[in-house]
Each structure stands twice: as structure tokens, then as C-alpha cells.
Symmetry: C2
Subunit: 338 residues, 2 copies
């Protein structure tokens, strides 16, 4: 199929950029030194490409992502990098381990989450340590106590995780580096109390400056977005929303992307060669640069660059893999919902 024939709006994966990003990361963090975070792309087909590149351990944010990866034969080493207390879903994850469909590790950060994991029969946990992001994770000084508690409850403690999510988007490298060093000092201290082989953390923005972790939890790097694009990263933009121009007036043009096809928490998407005015449910109103005569016409196609990859992909059924004008294949976004 040719790109021009693809119904819009459609999410495109530029194959060459994707391959460049995967190869660049794999060279720096080969094999288990990277634990790709599937929350960014929610596709077992894409995950299989990363497994083929040597990364066979995955990081998940939901039980659905864990189960989908296991069912796709990608269950070598699955980490739920999130707290979970739902007994039914924890039971499903424990069954994956019991039935040898996956190695299952779950993050815990409190007595309540340890109790829930133990009761459900989860075999392994990481102690989730707060390293400065106001979200989950125990205080660093509490990690050792929780590890002891988990072991007493029969859980194997593989180590610690701590996500410096408040730092991964800082554009200025020197600031980013020094704050990451501080955050990781806390994680390393917690690890000394907890024990185990795993120190998990980081993200796309700290892929090369977080040198304290044993494994990096990065996902956005595979396709990128304009938010991470502001940083000095070697990864190329590989995700685009393919849209059709529906209406053109003397003051603006309108294409068929919008709030139903783009995650908006990082603000408006970008259209090269145009100013994005605003987004509606199924429309982007934009003002092309240059003289009115050179503007796109109704029926023309426009590539839109998403501001935030994760919630954008979560709105789509398919990722269309393209090489210039050729549509190569489509990957189902099969890990949506919970």
C-alpha cells in the first residue's frame, strides 16, 4: 500500500528512524542493560523487534501489558514498574509465573502493596524507592525495612527501582546530570540496605547520564516526540500523525487530527512549516507559512509531530510502519486498556 492511500488520521512509524534509535540505544545499553518500557508504545509487535535487538526483559505500567507480553512469548523477564493492589489482577500475574509463561516481578513501596503481592502469590518484587518525583516509591530510608518485610512474607527481593521522572525532561545537560547524580545517590544508598542484583531506573532523557543503574527503563526513545526532541539526544523523530486537509480558508487550514488522536498533556503537536493554532476533537487548525497560494489544498496530506508519544499511541488501534511513501506493515496497538 502507498502512504497516500492510507485512511487518516493514522499513526506512522518511520522505519529508518526506528531502526536508528533501536541500534543507537542497543550499542550503548546492550541486552539486559536496557529494560524497554512498553507503556510508551503498547505493542507486542514493536516489543518483539526490541527483543530481536537483544532486550528480552520488559518494563510495564499495567497488568494488561504484562499479560499481553507473556501471551506473545515475550515473558522472559517482566517487571510491573508500578504498584498494584487488585487481588484479581495480581492473581493473574502470579499465574503467569506459576505456569512458566513469564518471570514476574512487581514493584512494592508499602506494607499494603507487599501484603497484596504475598497473598496473591507473586514470586518476586523490587522495592520502589522515591528519588524525588512526587509519586510512588517509599522514602529511601525505609527501603531496607520494607525489603526485610517482603522477605519475611516469602517474596524474593531482586533489588530496587527509582524513577527520576522529574529530571528526565530537563533540557540543560549540566543541570540534568547533577540532579540525576543526587537522585541516584539516594537510590544507591537504598540498594545497599535492600540487596539484590537489580538497580532499575532512568528514562529516555537520562539514557546516557544515569550510570548508577543496572538497567534503564526507557521507552520513548524508540519513536520520540517533540517534548524529548528539545533535549540533546541522538534519537530521531520516528512517530508522525498522518492527516488529510479538510478545509482551507483565507486565514487558516484544517486537517483531521485532534484530541482523539493526540495526547495533549504536553500541549499542541507540531506541524513543520506551519503554526498550530489549536486542536479540537477531530481537527487541527493551523496556519501554513508562506503565501496563501502555496498552502496545502483540501485532500492534501499533512504530517503532524506528536508532543507526547505515550498517550498519543494509547489512542490508536494501529501503528503503520512506513519507508518513505511505502507502507510496509501495521503493528497492532494490542496492549491498551488495563
Amino acid at each position: 500500500m502507498q502512504l497516500h492511500d492510507l485512511p487518516t488520521p493514522a499513526l506512522l512509524v518511520e522505519r529508518s528512524a526506528f531502526e536508528h534509535n533501536v541500534a543507537t540505544m542497543a550499542a550503548a545499553r546492550p541486552g539486559v542493560a536496557l529494560r524497554p518500557h512498553v507503556k510508551a508504545f503498547k505493542s507486542t509487535a514493536l516489543a518483539a523487534e526490541l527483543a530481536a535487538a537483544g532486550h528480552r526483559g520488559f518494563c510495564c505500567a499495567t497488568a494488561r501489558e504484562m499479560v499481553g507480553l507473556a501471551e506473545a512469548g515475550l515473558g522472559d523477564d517482566l517487571l510491573l514498574a508500578n504498584e498494584l493492589v487488585d487481588p484479581e489482577r495480581l492473581g493473574v500475574l502470579a499465574a503467569l509465573a506459576r505456569d512458566d509463561l513469564a518471570r514476574v516481578t512487581v514493584a512494592v513501596d508499602s506494607q499494603a502493596t507487599i501484603d497484596a503481592a504475598a497473598v496473591a502469590g507473586i514470586p518476586e518484587v523490587l522495592i520502589d524507592v522515591n528519588v524525588g518525583l512526587p509519586r510512588c516509591g517509599c522514602p529511601p530510608g525505609d527501603a531496607g525495612r520494607l525489603a526485610d518485610l517482603a522477605r519475611r512474607r516469602g517474596l524474593a527481593v531482586r533489588g530496587v527501582m527509582g524513577y527520576e521522572g522529574h529530571l528526565v525532561g530537563i533540557p540543560e545537560r549540566a543541570t540534568r546530570e547533577s540532579l540525576v547524580a543526587e537522585a541516584m545517590e539516594a537510590l544507591v544508598a537504598a540498594h545497599a540496605e535492600v540487596g539484590g542484583e537489580v538497580v532499575s531506573g532512568g528514562g529516555t532523557g537520562t539514557w546516557d547520564c544515569n550510570t548508577w543503574i543496572t538497567e534503564l527503563q526507557a521507552g520513548s526513545y524508540v519513536l520520540m516526540d517533540t517534548h524529548y526532541g528539545r533535549l540533546d539526544l541522538p534519537f530521531h523523530q520516528g512517530l508522525f500523525l498522518w492527516t488529510t486537509v479538510l478545509s482551507v480558508s483565507d486565514g487558516w487550514a484544517v486537517c483531521d487530527g485532534g484530541l482523539k488522536s493526540l495526547g495533549m498533556d504536553h500541549g499542541d503537536p507540531t506541524i513543520p512549516g506551519a503554526d498550530v493554532f489549536f486542536c479540537s476533537d477531530e481537527h487541527i487548525t493551523f496556519v501554513p507559512e508562506g503565501h496563501r497560494d502555496t498552502w496545502p489544498r483540501v485532500g492534501d496530506k499533512v504530517r503532524v509531530v506528536p508532543a507526547h508519544i505515550d498517550p498519543t499511541i494509547a489512542l490508536h488501534e494501529w501503528l503503520w510502519v512506513v519507508d518513505a511513501e511505502q507502507v510496509l506493515e501495521r503493528w497492532p496497538v494490542d496492549l491498551r486498556n488495563w
Copy 2:
């Protein structure tokens, strides 16, 4: 099923609020005076409730919504209130009309959209008139010419539509009313040139002050959101995100809603009795009011009020209809994607 047993995050429809909203609107705009906009809720089960309340004509933003309603037996009078130039999708809509599965009307605002509709065999159109929102719609003075063109191309012209989307969210009633009057003056003038029986427009925010239209295109009123909640409307909040507390520290608590379960273009959601700090992919960090001892605990449930109904529902598979603690049924969100 009891509400407490529902896996989270889950979108709840409070049955009593929904019924109040439907009855309030139906009393003011009975039958065809309301053309419910299904883009807000994307569910044929919910649409069937509105049809049972007397509104058997529907408004759509996508071809998928049109086809889904027709397949669900709700095709009495379907309007695609959006421009479409994709020949394949237009062909599918034309076939719905040809096979008597739906009455099909499509908005057009240019020669290109008229040509596309005519070539595909679309039977009926509305001339989409720009009434001030910088988006689709022809200049009001151009509507008559386009209607003539459409009729020459064999299309039946049912009238005009014009959406005052830039005005529906103005909280101050007097301002809203006077600006709507101005916008509708342009639409009425265009209608005089176009002819036909239909003058379609409006939304939840102008439900009672837009007196120029023959049919109101409102969808949000059925369940509401915090954005429309700022206005002086008689509709009750009937949509909630049901979440579970995952982690509680001395400074904040975290529940399992987030960017994958909430449309974010209108900003953060609201949690009654708490300040929302920020949202991540699968987390909301919030600070409960009151003394730390009274805060929710891990495993407790929290009701979150979405800021924008349309893109929130588009992220979900199900709407769970509840009456206090009882889960009555679930409606599939079956009109997602395009």
C-alpha cells in the same frame, strides 16, 4: 456487581444524573429539536437511550460513528457534521443510504468537498457555514453559491449548519448570549441564500440561548465535565473516573488514573476534597484536604471528575452504569477510532 469490585481505572456513568440530564434536555428540545452529538460519548448503547427518549436523529464527527449507528439500527437520520474527502469512506456512507440502512447527510464547505460527496454518491448535504470559530465552514456569503453548486452536482441540500464552538464555553451568560446572537445572525443570513429545512448548530453551552437553530448538536450534556460545569447549566455531573489509591506518603497520595484514562486538553481533572497536583501516564498525584490521619489509604477508591468528556471517553472500552454502590450494566464504547 458492587462498585468496590470494579477493576480500576474505570469510567462510571451515574444513572440518576444521566436520566436527569436526558429528561431536562428532552423537555426543552423534544424529538428532532435535538440532534445528539455522538462524538461526546461514542457508544451505540448510550445513543439507543437517547433514541428511546425521542431523539432519533444523530450527529457524528467520523465515518466510523455513522456506520456504527447504522449497524445498531439507529440510522433514521445521520448527519456527518464534518468534512470528509476520503473516497472509500464516503463510498461506505453512500452505501448505507443506498441500502436503506440510514438516511445520510454530510457537511460540505467547498467545491472540493462537494465534488467528493457527489462522486461518491452521497444523497444529501448541509452547507457548513463558518460562524466565527476558526475551523471548517465556508464564509457566510459563499453559502448560497455552494448550495447552487451542490444542487447542480445532484446533491439534495437540506439546509445549513454552523457551530459556535468558540462561544459555547463562555461562563458569563450575557456575553455568551449576545455573541451567539451575532453568530447566528450570520447563519440565518446564509440559510436564506441556501434554502432547505435544516438550521443545525449549537452545543451544550448554548442549549437554551441558541433560539435560531431548528436542531441542537449537543452531546456533553448527557454526562458533563468540569469545563461545562463552570457554566450555569442545569445538567448534573454524571461521568466519573473510578480509581484505586496505590501509594500514600506524608506529602501526597497517588491513584491509578492518568493520561491514558483522561483527556487532558482542558487541564487536570478534579478530585472533590483534594488538590490534584499532576497527572502521569497511569497516576494522579493529589493532596487530600484535612489531617494526614484522615487521608485515604492504599486500596481505597477515589472518584475523579474529568475535565473534558469527549477525549476521556475515547480512551476507554466501557462505560460502567452505576446506581450508588451498584453496577447496573456496562455500555461498550464501540464507536472509537475512524
